[in-house]
């Protein structure tokens, strides 16, 4: 029986492990390599590494560092941040990344995504959709550029675009809850995620194990979290952690 993937997300910035709240105010957590070593020991299902600064940097992707991180990862790795060309995608695959995570690129250069899927297969290209609420109207919409720019599309239209491009998987990032320990938004899962026929990942808000179970029951295929696996509530001390064996068993029993 296929297990439910539970995926820690590592945000990196200038070779440091950081954690944001609503993609803002990165807090320094430590050395990404140490976190990876702990996640190896805990045998995590998968890791997503997001360089939150790459898009803004002149030099873009820090290939040498990604290679260093990948050499320590004995689990599947997804990477996102600063990807602009087919050459970038090719290099990332060569140095040990399994999945390329694209976000703003879906909107700015969909043709590149289509071509990458033709070359490397759908399973290797993951769409990351940032969903945020308008500050005034409270209406939700897809955002790009680290959730700073709202795009002129509805959420379901944007999902449809991703499906048409042929991505193998979609990660939904709930910006309103990112780093906020408010629990996953089950309505979001019910409304947009549960009926999709490709693998889906929910991210944003995880705050306790029951909430992970609820998100799985609501119809998310995989559960991702950053703060929940790196900061301890309520004082937010740094603690790299993962589900216990019993919790993993409970979550996988839902698939039976």
């Amino acid at each position: 029986m296929l297990r439910t993937r539970v995926i820690p997300i590592l945000q990196i910035s200038s070779r440091a492990l950081v954690k944001t709240v609503k993609y803002k105010n990165p807090k320094y957590l430590g050395d990404p390599l140490n976190a990876i070593k702990i996640f190896n020991e805990k045998r995590v299902d998968e890791l997503l590494i997001i360089d939150i600064n790459a898009a803004k940097r002149k030099s873009k992707i820090d290939f040498a560092y990604i290679e260093e991180l990948c050499a320590e990862c004995f689990m599947p790795i997804g990477y996102g941040g600063g990807i602009e060309t087919m050459e970038d995608i090719k290099r990332l695959f060569t140095l040990g990344v399994e999945k390329i995570i694209v976000n703003s690129l879906i909107y700015t250069n969909p043709a590149l995504i289509e071509n990458a899927i033709k070359l490397y297969g759908a399973q290797s290209i993951v769409a990351s959709i940032d969903i945020n609420k308008h500050w005034l109207t409270k209406k939700i919409a897809p955002y790009i550029h680290s959730a700073t720019q709202r795009i002129n599309m509805e959420v379901d239209g944007y999902i449809k675009l991703c499906l048409e491009l042929g991505v193998g998987e979609i990660i939904f990032n709930d910006i309103e809850r990112e780093g906020a320990f408010k629990g996953y938004d089950l309505d979001l899962i019910n409304k947009y995620i549960q009926d999709l026929n490709i693998p889906t990942v929910i991210n944003g808000g995880a705050n306790n194990f029951r909430n992970l179970i609820a998100a799985k029951k609501a119809g998310a295929d995989a559960l991702a979290a950053g703060s929940f696996f790196s900061l301890q509530q309520p004082h937010l001390a740094v603690l790299i952690t993962y589900l216990s064996k019993e919790e993993i068993m409970e979550i996988n029993n839902l698939n039976k």
């Binding site: 029986m1 296929l2 297990r3 439910t4 993937r5 190896n40 045998r43 299902d45 998968e46 290679e67 990948c70 050499a71 004995f74 689990m75 599947p76 695959f93 060569t94 140095l95 040990g96 990344v97 399994e98 070359l119 490397y120 297969g121 759908a122 399973q123 290797s124 193998g168 998987e169 026929n197 490709i198 693998p199 295929d221 995989a222």
Partner: protein, 204 residues
């Protein structure tokens, strides 16, 4: 020397990493002399079957590999697409494979169960179909990372090494003499994959 065959299909760095973690050296190469002198071969692969066969052909590797594997009996491990290439035929492009293992590669279909997603992606358990030295010191149950839309069916059931359940049982590894194929990615499967790679290198 352990040689990881570089034919332009896949994640070779990760495989070199896990071989190193298992305590051995390897080289990534498409050079026929290097491949001819290998003590063990690893045939990785991510991507399209037809393109992979074309690449092997254009690099003039098929004859060298046939000689190494079928005549010299050098142990070889095919991973994911690398496993599928060892079969006689694939639906992906309707092309012949290397034909070292009698069997075919076909796509998962769950036409009456649309809720079952393709690719089969994530961690799943293996059930060994026979006792074999490559299973030495395996944790029970052992689980591995899979990502594939096509799967192998062996003509000779004796070749089946592991099976895995994805809404029905399929062959997740095969073995015949010196030929090994695994559908999953041992290089991305923590200690489970490390043990398998170590066993392949040291015991097979």
């Amino acid at each position: 020397m352990i040689v990881i065959i570089d034919y332009g299909m896949g994640n070779l760095g990760s495989i070199k990493n896990i071989v190193k973690k298992a305590g051995h050296k390897s080289i990534i190469s498409k050079d026929s002399d290097v491949i001819s002198n290998a003590s063990k071969l690893i045939l990785p692969g991510v991507g399209n079957f037809k393109e992979a066969m074309n690449n092997l052909e254009h690099l003039n590797l098929i004859e060298i590999l046939n000689n190494k594997v079928l005549i010299e009996k050098t142990p070889i491990l095919g991973i994911c697409l690398g496993m599928q290439l060892m079969t006689s035929f694939s639906e992906e492009g309707n092309v012949r494979g290397l034909d070292w293992i009698k069997g075919k590669t076909t796509k998962f279909t769950f036409s009456n169960q649309p809720e079952i997603k393709i690719p089969h992606m994530g961690w799943n358990e293996i059930i060994p179909s026979k006792s074999h030295k490559i299973n030495t010191d395996f944790e029970i149950p052992s689980r591995f990372y899979f990502v594939h839309s096509y799967f192998v069916t062996c003509e000779d059931k004796k070749d089946i090494l592991y099976e895995t359940d994805y809404k029905g049982v399929f062959t997740s590894a095969f073995n015949k003499e010196n030929i090994y194929g695994v559908q999953f990615h041992p290089e991305k499967s923590h200690v489970f994959g490390l043990q398998l790679i170590k066993n392949f290198i040291e015991l097979c």
